[in-house]
Structure formats: C-alpha cells, structure tokens
Amino acid sequence: MFKNQQIMDLPTHSAISFMPLADKALLHKQLNWLAFYIPLIGVLIALCYFNEAFANNAQTHLLIGMPILIAVSMLYNMVNIRLQGFAVREHDVAFKKGVIWRQVTILPLARVQHMEIHQGPIERKLDLASIKLFSAGGVSADLQIGGLTHADCKNMRQFVQNYRQEDTNSRAEFINE
C-alpha cells in the first residue's frame, strides 16, 4: 500500500508564479485570426456579389453575424492570451493555457529529447517566436509555447540544452529548496 511518507518540502507546481507571454503576443494572435477572417469575408462578399439569391437570403444575417463573430473571437483571444503563462524552473518547464479547459503542463528538462523554434512571417515582423519541446512517446510536441519573444525562446533553448541532471544540486538539496 502506498505510504505517503513526509519528504520534507515537496516542490509544489500550484505555487509556480507564471510569467505572462510577450506584449505583442495578443497582437500576433489577433492578426493571425484576421488573416483567417479577411479572406473569409472576401469570399462571402464575392458570393453575395455574384449570387443574388444567396445575397438576398444571407446578406442581413452576415452583416450582423460577422462583426459579432469577429468581436467575440477577439475578446476570446484577449482572455486566452491573458490566461497563458510559462515558467522555467531549475528542473522543468511549466506552461498553463486554456479558457474553458484550463491546462497546466510540466515537462522535466531531463526528459526533453529535442526542441524546435518556429517563426512565421507575422512572428518575424513582431520579433516573436514559438518553442516546441519534445519528449519520448508523445504524439506531437509535449509543450508548445507561442507568443514569446525570439530572445526568450533562444534563452530557453540554451537553458534546456545546458541542463544536465548530474550538474544540478544533489537530491537532498533539491528537496530542501
């Protein structure tokens, strides 16, 4: 049977103080969504222009619905970005995200198999980047943190690369932190 023996102070992940994403992360998110909505609006305008029957039926609904949809998704993005946060601890990286389903994922640095830094065209313009950390057995990246500054991503990559479990403090010291 499991004995819940006292192991001094077990580091608790619920006490992690998460850092917010970069300032421009929200702008990046909004631009990304606009990059989806603008072509969609273009297609709908073209449909209304060339198809009179469609225009008669849907024009009013679209004129009311589309601005509401865009406004709601913009608001959702604001909340979503505000609720995201990351933390790099001595032995692991933590990331929280989610509006409806709130997730906290913690990946021990000793389990990181490889990393990727990704910068799309909008991210390059805003000097942002996203980092993916892969461990064994996962279907895709175990941890994907977007909306960081490129410098933060490179620092994190360097930190993870430099991490060696045996170099860190001994087990007892680790517990006592």
């Binding site: 077990l10 580091p11 709130r102 906290v104 389990r111 198999q113 057995g137 045996e166």
Partner: protein, 515 residues
C-alpha cells in the same frame, strides 16, 4: 549509428561474410518487401496491363519470370556485398547494398536488444538470424542472417556483458539472489488459440482483404449464395425464407472463417510460447514459421499493460504487454509492435498475470490493489453527455420517424449501463516498494485495462480542469510516458496536485536511466 570509420581502424578490421544459406533470407526478405512496398507502386502499370495489353497470359509470364530472375540476381549481389565485422571498439560494422553501398556502425552501447529468429527455411541447416535492435524502430535494426545459433548467443552475451559493464560504471544496483533465479512460463497452443478468439487479428485480416471486397462479394453471390439458396429450396422445401437462410448461413460461415484465420495467425505468431525471466531480463521464444527469440531488459520497459476485452472476460484470460519507448508518437509505436519489440504475453489467467508481474514487481497482487476511484461528478457529467443527450436524440428520431418511443428508453438504459461501467472502472493506485514508487491506472468499460509504471519514468505531467471542476475542487490528470499515457479523470485537486508534484520529484531527482 554513423557511417564513418577512420582509416587506421579499417586496416585492422576482420570482415566476415555470412553463410551462403543467407541467400535464402535475402530472397524471402526482398520478396516480402516487393509485395509490401513494390506492388502498390506498380498499380498504375497493372491498370495499363489489364486494360491495354491483349495477350495477357504470355506477357504476365514474361513479367513474372523477369521479376523472379531480377529478384534472384539482386539477392545474390546483395549477398556478395553483405559483410560484417565486430570492431575492437565494441561496434558492429556492416557493409551492404547493391546500387547504393551503405556502411552502418552500431555501437554495442546503443543496442537495446539482441533477438534470435529461427526461420523455417534455416531449420534443416541449424542457422538463425541475429537481430540487433538499436532503438525500437525498424530503420535502426541490423540483421545478420544465416549465422549459427552459438555465434548469435555469443554475440548476445558479449553485448549484454559490455552493457552491464557500462551500467556498473554508472552505479547500477547489484542483482540480488532472487533476481538471478530463473522463472519460466510456457503457454500451451490450445491457450494460444484462445488469443485468436480474443484478438482483433480477424478484423485486421478482413481489413487487408478490403480492396478486393467487391470482387469477393460478386464471387460469393455467383458461386455460393445461389447454390445455398437452391439447397434450402430443394432439400428443405423452405421456399419463402430460402434467401434469408442462405444469407445467414453465409454470414455465419464468414465469421467462422475470420475466427479460423485469426486463430491460425495467433498460432503462427505464438506457437510453442516459452518465456524466461532471469537477472531482470526477459527472453521469449515463439513462432511457427519463424522461431523468434526476443530478449528484453526490464529497465527498458516503460510500462506494463494488462488488458482484457469482452472475449477475454468470457474466457477469463488477460493479455500482458511490456512496452518499450515509442519515440515519435503513434507511428513509431505501431512500428515497434510490428517489429516485435513489444513483449506480448498473449493469454494468461489471473494467477499467471500475478505470477509474471511479481517477477518484475514483487509487490504486485491484482486482488490487493486498492484503487481510488474517480469522483461522482464524472458519473453525472458522463450520464448527461453520453446517456441523456443521445437518448433525447433517439427520442427525437422516434418522434420524427414515428417509431416506438420505448426505443429511446431502451437506449437510455443501455447508455446509462455503459456509462456506469466505465465510471466504476476508472481508478488509480500508488505503491511504494523499497524506496521505489509505482502507479497503477485502471480504465475500461466491459473489458478492463491496467497500466503499471514506475513514477520516475514519466515524461511529463498535465492537469486539466473546467470551471465547474474547479468549483468542485476537481482535476483530471495525465501522465505522459514514453509508451503511452496514464489518464485519471475527476480526482480531488489536492490528490492530483500531489501526484503531479511527486511524479515530477521522482523524474527530476532520480539519477537512474529511464530509457
């Protein structure tokens, strides 16, 4: 693996050729590869051949003959170029290839397993294939075909001795007397046949036949259904229902054929199953056409899965799988299974499950695992989403389609039963044994699925909660392993947080190698 070797080493290397009988292996190997990979690529040509060519039989014979001769010539050239050597630096070097020459270098330290396979065509000459598995993937495998069994076993000993030496340097704990005692298990072929009934091999076999299903159905209609129908009409005088009876007979026959096929496939794979466990290593020998010898070190096992499906429940049998790292997701996991890297114990009764698990985890006793269940909120949520909502949909369909409303009540009862079964199955159990911490996670519905793992092998941990869950102080817990995932929904937040913190503590503070 690397493909470089320095010049000084080159001169001192003693390159060896495999036995000429290995030519048989190459012929079989390239034939199988041609059927698996090549035929699909030749499909467009096949379409042109079927639609455009007039003298089909003659040209088919010419093409078949040319393909056969090419296969023999290619295999022979491959055999001539195939050389291997064991370097003083504890490496296996391999030269191979016909058009593209390759040199592979596999360090002893990177060899995960050394497996010995005895194909039926090598039995008269007492030769085997020696398979060096590098990382659980097909592409990183070195096969020495047609070597003597003694040589293969000597290679295995040499590699494991080298790895043990390396591990001792890394301060591995010494093996106790209990660890060095040999345990063994033999599964009778009658039991193996039961695995055919339990497994989904029949479905896989039918799936493999899917491209030809139309041709098959046409054939059945023309050749069998009419005859069976005629039989019922003439012999039994059932004029009205002859067609229905013919159809039922055919379906029963097809199911029986699928089951027979599945049983046959199980016997081919696990014939005369023998399992040995000594010094924290498994050795499994099984197979009808190819006696495949798989060895697996316990520290490579990431988790052990014990599962029982509906048929398993009826037969009171379980399947146990010892899973290794499947880096790269589902595809690599499937590849590892295909490559026989997963140790599967196909049919065990509950006593055998306990006995085998106790070789690895002496504390394991399935009857004494006190599982902590999910909170009742999970039951209410699932009843709402998976019983009430679908039943309302069924009620609407009954209303619109003017069916009997009792159908929706029936659906509600069935869905409620399944949801309740699934809720009751969820459970987790934590165990401490000699300073090591283990977790057992249970799930299922009609069947049951246990995953047993040591906490320090966790790759990452995740908690998920919704607004309502947070209000009720609940969280769902995921622990990612190198071979799958342990999931425990709707447990108390404080418990979930403790498990996450403790798992991370184990993973981050342990100096033991997890892979």
């Amino acid at each position: 693996m690397s493909n470089t070797i320095n010049e000084e080493q080159k001169s001192s290397l003693h390159w060896q050729k495999v036995s000429p009988w290995a030519l048989l292996y190459f012929v079989v190997y390239f034939s199988v590869r041609f059927v698996k990979d090549g035929l699909l690529n030749l499909l467009p040509m096949l379409v042109v051949f079927v639609t455009q060519v007039e003298n089909k039989l003659f040209w088919a014979q010419v093409a078949g003959g040319a393909a056969f001769i090419s296969l023999l010539v290619y295999s022979f050239l491959y055999y001539l170029n195939f050389r291997f050597c064991i370097s003083d630096d504890h490496e296996i070097l391999l030269n191979k290839g016909v058009f593209k020459k390759e040199r592979l270098t596999l360090k002893f330290g990177r060899v995960q397993n050394v497996n010995i396979a005895e194909p039926f065509y090598f039995t008269p000459v007492s030769l085997v294939n020696c398979i060096f598995d590098a990382a659980g993937s097909v592409s990183q495998e070195v096969v020495l075909p047609g070597v003597t069994k003694d040589y293969a076993q000597q290679m295995r000993k040499q590699i494991f001795a080298f790895k043990a030496l390396q591990q001792n340097e890394d301060e591995q704990p010494a093996l106790s007397e209990a660890d060095l005692a040999e345990n063994s298990l033999r599964i009778s072929n009658k039991e193996i046949a039961k695995f055919g009934l339990m497994s989904n091999m029949a479905i896989l076999a039918i799936a493999a036949l899917a491209p030809f299903i139309n041709v098959f159905i046409d054939f059945l209609e023309q050749k069998i259904i009419y005859k069976v129908e005629g039989f019922y009409q003439q012999e039994l005088g059932m004029l009205a229902n002859a067609a229905t009876f013919a159809m039922i007979t055919l379906i029963v026959m097809l199911v029986l054929m699928a089951v027979l096929l599945s049983v046959t496939m199980s016997l081919i794979r696990f014939y005369n199953f023998e399992l040995y466990f000594k010094g924290q290593k498994f050795k499994r020998i099984a197979g009808l056409l190819e006696r495949h010898q798989l060895s697996m070190s316990m520290d490579k096992v990431q988790s052990i899965v014990i599962k029982q499906n509906l048929m398993g429940r009826l037969l009171k049998r379980f399947t146990v799988e010892c899973l290794q790292t499947s880096s790269g997701g589902i595809a690599a996991g499937v590849a590892a299974k295909k490559n026989k890297q997963t140790l599967v114990l196909p049919v065990l009764n509950s006593e055998q499950v306990d006995s085998v698990c106790q070789w690895i985890y002496p504390w394991f006793n399935s009857k004494k695992l006190l599982f902590k269940q999910a909170e009742r909120a999970l039951l209410y949520k699932n009843l709402g989403f998976y019983a009430v909502l679908p039943s309302v949909v069924v009620l609407l369909v009954c209303y619109l389609g003017e069916f009997n409303y009792w159908l929706s009540l029936g659906a509600f009862v069935i869905f409620t039963g399944l949801v309740s079964l699934s809720y009751q199955r969820y459970g987790y159990y934590l165990h401490e044994d000699n300073g090591r911490f283990y977790m057992v996670v249970r799930r299922g519905m009609i069947g049951v699925h246990y995953r047993v793992f040591e906490l320090y092998k966790a790759q990452s941990a995740r908690s998920i909660s919704t607004y309502l869950m947070r209000r009720a102080g609940l969280e769902s817990l995921y622990i990612q392993l190198a071979s799958g995932q342990a999931f425990m929904p709707y447990i108390k937040k404080q418990d979930a947080d403790f498990i996450i913190d403790f798992t991370l503590y184990q993973a981050e503070s342990s100096n033991r190698s997890w892979m």
